[in-house]
Every structure is written in C-alpha cells, then in structure tokens.
C-alpha cells in the first residue's frame, strides 16, 4: 500500500523552496516538489489552531454517539488522510492537529475498553499513538512528544531496574541516552530532511527532560542538584561544541535551554535572593550575547550573527515579545502593594 506523502526528492525540493524565498519561483518552476502545498510557520500555527478547534467541535457533536472517541478518532484520521491525499497539503498544521487528536482519541478509547489500571502502560500506549502520527506525517513535534511520553511512562512504571523509587532517575537516564544517540545520529547525512528534523527535536528537548527528571528524583537534596547542574553544564558544553563544529541550530538551541537549567540549579544551590540571581544571570547573559554579536556580526564566512535570510515570523515575534514585556497599566496607584511587578513587566506595571 502506498502512503500519500512527499517522496524524498519532493521533500527536499519543497524544503528548498521554503528555505530560500528568493529562489522559490525557480525551484517551483522545476516541478520537482510535486503538487504538494506547504506553508509558513505562522500559517502552520493558525492551521494547527483551527484543526484543534474543529476537533473540539467534533467531540461535542459526537457526544451522544456510542463510543464517541473511537468514532471521532477514526473520522479525524480519515479526514487528515483525505487532506493529505486529495488536497496534497503537507506541514500545513491542519492535518497535523486533526491526525494527532484522532490518534490520541482512538488510543484513549481502546484504553477505556481495556479497563486496565496501569498508568505507565496507558501513557506508553498513548505515546505510541503520537509516535505513529508523527511517523506518518514526519512531524518532529509529535515524535519528540512521544519520546517525552515514553520517559513519563518509565517514571510511572511500577518496577525499577535500579531499585525502589528510582523510576524518575531511570527516566532521566533514558532521556540523556536518547539525547546522546540523537546527537550522534544527527552527524550522518540524511536524505530525507524530516528524519534529520526528528533527530533535532530529540537533541533539543531530551537534555532538558533529563535535567527535569533528575531534579524530580532528588527534590531538595544538594547531591541531586549538583548532579543536575553537572548534567546541564555537560550537555551545554557538548551541544555548543557540536553545534559550532557541525554548524547546526538544534544543538545550540538545546545549549540555551541547558544554560537556563544550570542557572536554576545554581539558584537552588547558592540560595541567593531570587532578584539577585535574576539580575546577575540576566546581566551575564546579556553581556555574553552582546559581545558575541559584536565579535561575529562582521564576519563574512564561518559562524556569524549577520541576518542572512528574511524571516517575517521572527520579526513579528520580536515585536510581540517587546510588547509583552512592556509595563502594563495599573488599575489604581493608591498604595504600594508589594507585588514586585509581573514577570517581564519588571515591576514597571505600577503594581508595586
């Protein structure tokens, strides 16, 4: 049976058209991308949102039917398959939301019928449904979500390889191993870009999850926090080295998150007042970023901080971000309330 999806060649040409806007017409003129329709990240976001809206309305519409989750789930999967096969949409957000919800609905219905009380198995089963949806649509978000779900299943599992109450530690180890495997596998050349992107998802998120599980394992114990700090700094170093050496974004994004994890661990260890930690961390990060930008912005080859492509989504995000951290108006200025401002408002809200 042939599954409707872009071939490797088509996917590569589609990606080329998306990646280089100035070349889009020339790329599309070759006709190598097939009849597939893609969209921008903003469009994909709205498509996903509309897909979720549609799914929730379908859930309401089928609420009086017998086995609504199974019926609705199957309908959603059929609708998503129709969108892909007939409308030739790929990465449009709509079919992704519909497929994901359909797969989860079917899995949940089957779990309800099985009447099992094993939470870990249930989570693993739902994660498998998400993984299958991710594999079907070649979606890195779903495959990463499935990996996170499996780590949750390990943490919830009754038995443990490393002794009693070690489940979260095992989940952390599993995430760390998966992160390393993905990092190593990402070093080889992949013909299908989506396979590469799926590995990128694991490279980015798994170190953060490993840190999270480790912190959960030894909540409040300094030995555990030291371990978590070492893990975060270890992943930060490795990812920065690999990211710069391979010139890849995923390890660098992961390294940024690891830095936040390390900052939090330091805060737990040093027990400095939160405001000083925030000010020191923020000032350090700002200084490093400004210096890096200053050093790299004029470089014409190698790693640079120059703007090399036109990204409307990034420009919009910057404006939204600036608006978000702008002081919010206070309802009344009558007295000092000691609120310290909202996060990002920096106390400038007038709600002191």
């Amino acid at each position: 049976m042939n599954i409707a999806r872009p071939t490797v060649t088509e996917e590569r040409w589609l990606l080329l058209a998306d990646r280089y806007r100035a070349l889009r017409s020339a790329v599309e003129a070759t006709g190598n991308g097939g009849a597939w329709k893609t969209t921008t990240p903003l469009g994909r976001g709205l498509g996903f949102l509309l897909g979720l809206f549609g799914t929730s309305f379908l859930a309401g519409a089928l609420s009086l039917f017998p086995s609504p989750l199974l019926v609705g789930g199957l309908l959603l999967i059929i609708a998503a398959e129709w969108l892909v096969a007939k409308r030739r949409v790929v990465r449009s957000g709509i079919e992704e939301a519909v497929y994901l919800c359909g797969a989860i609905a079917v899995a949940v219905q089957l779990l309800l019928w099985s009447d099992g009380n094993n939470e870990a198995l249930g989570v693993a089963f739902i994660s498998t449904a998400v993984l299958l949806a991710g594999w079907r649509l070649m979606n890195l978000l779903f495959t990463t979500l499935a990996a996170a779900g499996y780590s949750l299943a390990i943490a919830l599992a009754g038995g443990s390889l490393l002794g009693s109450r070690m489940n979260t530690l095992e989940a952390g180890i599993a995430c760390a191993v998966l992160a390393i495997v993905a990092l190593v596998a990402g070093g080889r050349q992949w013909r299908r870009p989506s396979h590469d992107q799926m590995l990128d998802g694991l490279v980015i998120v798994m170190p953060w999850l490993a840190y999270g599980w480790l912190v959960t394992y030894g909540w409040g114990r300094s030995a555990s926090i030291w371990m978590a700090l070492a893990l975060a700094l270890g992943f930060f170093t490795v990812n920065v080295v690999v990211g710069v050496k391979r010139r890849r974004h995923a390890p660098l994004i992961s390294a940024l998150g690891s830095l936040v994890c390390a900052g939090y661990a330091l805060h737990e260890l040093l027990r400095l007042p939160l405001h000083w930690m925030l000010i020191v961390d923020g000032a350090l990060l700002l200084a490093v970023a400004v210096l890096l930008d200053r050093r790299l912005r004029n470089l014409q080859v190698g790693v640079t901080s120059r703007k090399l492509d036109e990204s409307a989504s990034l420009d919009l995000l910057q404006l939204a971000g600036a608006a978000h951290i702008t002081p919010a108006p206070a309802a009344t200025p009558a007295s000092v309330q000691g609120q310290g401002g909202e996060f990002g408002g920096g106390g400038a809200s007038g709600r002191f």
Binding site: L23, L285, T304, S305, A322, G347
Partner: protein, 316 residues
C-alpha cells in the same frame, strides 16, 4: 545533517538570481552559518530576566534601600543603556542586534523607574495614568531618534495602556475598565495606529522592516481585539460582529494586495473566533453549537487554503 546543495546545483543560473543561488550554496555548504536567531532568544531572555529581577529587587528592598536610592540606581542603569545607543548614533555606525536589546532594556528600566516614582510620590496626583502617556511620548521620541522598531512597539503598547487596553491575550474579555468598554478603546487605538502608519506611506509595503509595518501590525491586532470585545458585550454584540466582518475584509484584502500573509491569518483567525463565539452565544444548545461550530471551522480552513493559494499566485 542534510545538505540541499545537490538540488541547488541543478537549478539553472538563468532561472534563478545568481547572487541568491551562490548565497544559498554557501549556506547549504555551511561556509557561512548565522546564529542570529539563537542570539535573539538569548538577548530577549536576558532583558526579560533582568527587568524581572529589578522589579523583585524593588519589592524586596524598598524599606532597606529607600525610594530615592532605588530610583537613582534604576535611572542610572537606564541612562547607561541609552548612552550606548547614543554613542553608536553619534559615531554614525549601524546599531548591532545586541545594542538593539540594550536600548530596549534601557527603555524598560526607564518605564519601571517612572512608574515606581509615580506610585511612590504621586507626582501627577489624580491624573496618575498620564504617566503612561508621557512614557508613550518618550518611547515614541526615542524610537524615532534611534530608529528602533522595538522601542516603537513599547511606545504603542504604553499608549494603549494609557487608553486602558492591555496588550495581553484574553483581555478583550476581561477589560480593565468595563464601564467604559474595552472595545471602543481598542478600536480607538487601532485607528490611531493606522493613522500613524499613514506617516510612513512611502515605505515599501512588503518589506516588513520599517515603522509602517509595526503600526499596521498593532492596528490590525487592536482592531480585532476591539471588535471581539464589542461582540462579547450583549448590548454591542451585533456592532461587534459587523465591525469584525468589515475588519476581516479590509485586513484580508490588504494582506492580498500587499502580499502580507500575517494579515490574511489575522483576518481568518480572528473572524473564526468571533463567529464561533457569536454562534455559541446565540444558539445555546451544546449539540447544535458544536455542529455549527464544526462547519464554521471547516469553512475557515477552506477559506485559508484558498487565500494561501491566491497569495502564492500573486507572489509567483
């Protein structure tokens, strides 16, 4: 890793712009690699963290340090940030990405200090909210002085704050000043921002880099928030619905004419939300609302796909 150089080499240099093709080849071959996006995230997180830390510092040490010392410290830090930008401007150099965010930090610290001074000393008395208007004016002035889109965004948000509209998700349904209505205030903001964009009519419509784009993005969003807020109130429900429809047509058309996908997405997204909201208010029955809502979303999806195709045709 994946590398699309193979496909790029197949492209005929006649069909593709030569400079774009060689640039793409350099990028695919990792000859040049930009970490601009990572730096942007780091700079944003750094500024947000610093400003939040300053807010907490004010709260925690108000009694110990005292308002005058705190204000002096924050104003000094803000002045240092502005000084960096001023030095670059005087040297007639282009401001770097990092300095853009240092300037933003200066503006936010300045806002913090002014707001704190107002709360502490009641400088404007009953007209306390005017400090937001003064801040908006200050940020607008510095935005033009330094030619900064980020400062313009701060200025427009401060102005909206003075009018009593918070630029945050969900506020159309939870207005700060319910008696005066968030809907008309948002619409007034949208009108002012749209008028602001008229001063930059000479800028290219599809560049997305100038001030015109900032004004228009804010005008579109505030306009839709205003229409949704009107629709949320039973007395102005139909006015809100009509306003939403008109705005969707105007903004959607502008998106097609100016080839701006974001405007098309606003038109489809906000009008779908408004329509579904209206249906749920009018129909009442859960089952009926669900079915009508489902068909509305299907219609919106079809419209979105059609508009995308038209946009693609017009950009081809």
């Amino acid at each position: 890793m994946h590398d699309l150089s193979e496909e790029l080499r197949v492209l005929s240099p006649d069909a593709a712009n030569d400079a774009s093709l060689s640039k793409a080849l350099r990028l695919e071959g990792r000859e040049v690699f930009s970490i601009r996006a990572e730096l942007l995230v780091a700079l944003y997180v750094a500024v947000a963290t610093l400003v939040a830390g300053v807010g907490l510092l004010v709260k925690a040490n108000l009694d110990r340090i005292g308002p005058v010392a705190l204000l002096t410290g924050i104003f000094t830090a803000s002045a240092i940030c502005y000084a960096f930008a001023l030095r670059t401007k005087r040297a007639k150099r282009e401001r770097s990405l990092g300095l853009d965010y240092v300037l933003l930090l200066g503006a936010l610290l300045f806002s913090s200090a002014v707001a704190y001074a107002e709360v502490q000393f009641h400088l404007l008395g009953d007209g306390w909210s005017r400090h937001l208007l003064l801040l908006a004016a200050w940020h607008l002035l510095t935005a033009y002085l330094f030619r900064s889109r980020l400062l313009l965004a701060v200025a427009l948000t401060a102005f909206a704050g003075w009018l009593g509209v918070e630029a945050r998700l969900g506020t159309p349904f939870d207005p700060l000043y319910p008696m005066l209505g968030a809907g008309p205030r948002s619409l007034l903001c949208a009108l002012v921002f749209w008028l602001g964009s008229r001063f930059h009519a000479q800028e290219r419509t599809d560049s997305g880099n100038g001030f015109r784009d900032v004004y228009r993005q804010f005008a579109a969003n505030f306009g839709f928030w205003g229409a949704l807020a009107l629709g949320a109130d039973s007395s102005t429900r139909w006015i809100g619905a009509v306003t939403l429809l008109v705005l969707a047509v105007v903004v959607g058309r502008a998106g097609l004419v100016e080839r701006r996908e974001s405007f098309l997405l606003y038109a489809v997204g906000y009008s779908t939300i408004g329509l579904v909201w209206l249906e749920s208010l009018l129909l009442g029955s859960f089952l009926f609302t669900s079915w009508i809502g489902l068909f509305t979303v299907i219609g919106a999806v079809m419209l979105l796909l059609k508009l995308r195709a038209r946009l693609k045709e017009s950009t081809a």
